[in-house]
Amino acid sequence: MVGGNDNRKSVLNEAGRFRSRFRRALVFRGAALGALAGSSAAGLLTLAGRFLGLPQAAADRGLLLAAVTGGSAVIAGLAAMRRTPPLPACLAALDAAGRAGGLVMSVGLAGADAWNPAVPQPPRVVWRSPRVTGGLALSSVFCLLVALLPQRLFIGLAGGGRPTVAAVIEQTAARVARIEAECLLPEQTAAAISNQLAEISQTGDAADPARTLDALDHIAEELTRAADAQADALAEERNALQAATALAAELAAHLDSGPLADTLATTAADALAQMLSQSPIPASLASNLLAAALGPDGLSAAGLQDMATLLREAGAMNEARLARLGELQRVEASACRRSDGSCTNAVACSGALARLLDEEGPAAEAAACLAAICAAPGSGGISRGRGDAPLTWTDPSTREHAAFKETVLSGRMPRADEARLEGLSAAVPDVPDAPAATAAGALSTHAAAQGTTPQVIVLPRHRETVARFFEP
């Protein structure tokens, strides 16, 4: 038995201990709930970011998840501390736990010193919540998956690389419109492609999108081919302009040092005219150049300077058109003349693709995936299914290679409504007037030739079905 004051202090100390335990449990619970909410929210945000393709390294993602989760846990834990019970409630809990009959609660009253109740041990405070614990475990797994799975999975899941037929039509139409507006292709070629595209957009069938997509592929191929031809022409024109510019500069240098002899000047003028006429430069440009070079007094240094200026202007225009063709990404790698490293057409130009892989940083992974897909056999583009699927040019067949082969029926076959039942037979139908149908029909027992679609024999158990079909 202890003295009254000491007893009161002991009771208050034990109540304080209980209060601390309670607060600890509250903080732990609050932190767990906060971590659950924070990790879920951070996981969802990260997932959304990955679907949107926002550049983010794995370490950054982990840091973001840890920071949001930890921050939420700390804030929720601190907020939970506000629910710590007051001292009278702790005394009541202590009294109830020790079955002290109200003496612990009355420790502050007058006369309490005379009683000196036994100081009870503070009760334990336990927090158990399988739901929160389970949720936290699930959330952690979710965050780990979101942070660590490779980016290509999210690109595939997002479905963004699978445009609709209408979107492809619109994209192609926009490209053709720009080519037409900037006169990058011959007018007739551009008009023909534009007409084809308009026809596809009108006749496109949603029930058979593959057909429309094939037609669009054809247009894109035509566009590429025309752009390639145009690029080749522009490249030859550029070479000719460069040669003419060099010749004009050389002649101008000679004329600066002294006038040429008449015969030599005439020969040089003829040679210049011949070169310009034979070069792939447009005729109008060639005549303008020649007129500028010869002038009213024949070949002169000033005239040649004027011609060089015109040549440089024409060269600049030529370069600009080549660049526009490159920007429209219609130039194949073989036609890409921009060896100065400024080409950005990574789809077609291997040099540009290599630079993209080296320089694009976080996007390199996606670009590598893209390159791998494009390089795989049978690649029809990232929007056309698996890149590694084998190219097949025959009718689609099932896994078991069981398919009926199409057969053109003979024109001499009777119409169905005029047909009459001759009898039922388990044997192969005998149609003497239509040998073609029996030769290659579904009921044929011919073995398939090598490399062709296998044919299926109608098994005896199916013959009943076929017979019922022809019953009146």
Binding site: A89, D95, R99, G102, P123, W127
Partner: protein, 343 residues
Amino acid sequence: MQMHLLTPQEIAPASEALQQTLAQMNRMLLGREALHRLVLTGILARGHILLEGLPGLGKTALVKALSDILRLRFKRVQFTPDLMPGDILGAHILQQAASGARELVFQPGPVFCNILLADEINRASPKTQSAMLETMQERSVTLLGTTRQLPLPFFVLASQNPIELEGTYPLPEAQLDRFLFRLNVGDLPTETLVDILTGRRHGTVPEPSWTLPKETLESCFAIVDQVVLPDAVARWIARLVTATHPGAAEATPRVRTYVRYGASPRAAIALAEAARAAALLDGRPSVGFEDVRMLVEPVLNHRLILNYQARLDHVTASALSEELASALDVAGMRLPEGVEVKA
């Protein structure tokens, strides 16, 4: 008002006297220790008690033994359907005085006593049962505009048979609410029966070897009034009674399912008073949660009105009240989900 705890010296005489009373009851009536403790608690709380049990279980003997020990005036009324209020309360009768004048003289009924045993109270008509309302609550009788106080202390210890319901009138809720406890007088264990058979010829209850003086009983009543009811306990009692209502925030799901009407504020007052008495009986100057927990069932079991679903599911008010006392956190800390306080 500044509360203070009674000293051990102030508590001890009353506590010892009550323990002695309890010992006498246990000596006179075998095998009913818990019941005796509750009855004495009810007497200390100055409440009326409804004893429920089959015939022959010693209800009347208990009341008679109590009156013998407490040396209180004891009256017994066998309630029957033809019992009239005047048979209990008393009546005015015409008498001729010495002067020859005739006047109405009040003849007190059996209710003018200290302990009234209302045997088989549910056999009386509602009119007669209602006549008990004023006596139980006000401890007075009003006849012809004249109110007469009953002698103090006044207790009604009623009994009723829970199985023979034919020809009975169930007690109205207003009267049930006036009983502090409804106590179930159960069967005795075999060993106790053997003791009764071997030790008592014809089951005769022995005379008390010690009696409680009336002054001591009155001092016990005074001390009960000074037993401290801590705020936390008072709050728990209030929450308990509130939680018996199906629409209360702290009502348990089973209360919401099975209870039609919860307990009244009179139940809370009764619980607090009885808890004070229980604390004194235990020799303490303050009420603890365990005192209340022990009394929740006898105080609330006749105050909860259950619905038909409860009858179909065989759910009793006793079970519901005990579940409620277990479910309700004593400290009122509003424990968050999943947090438990374990002693």
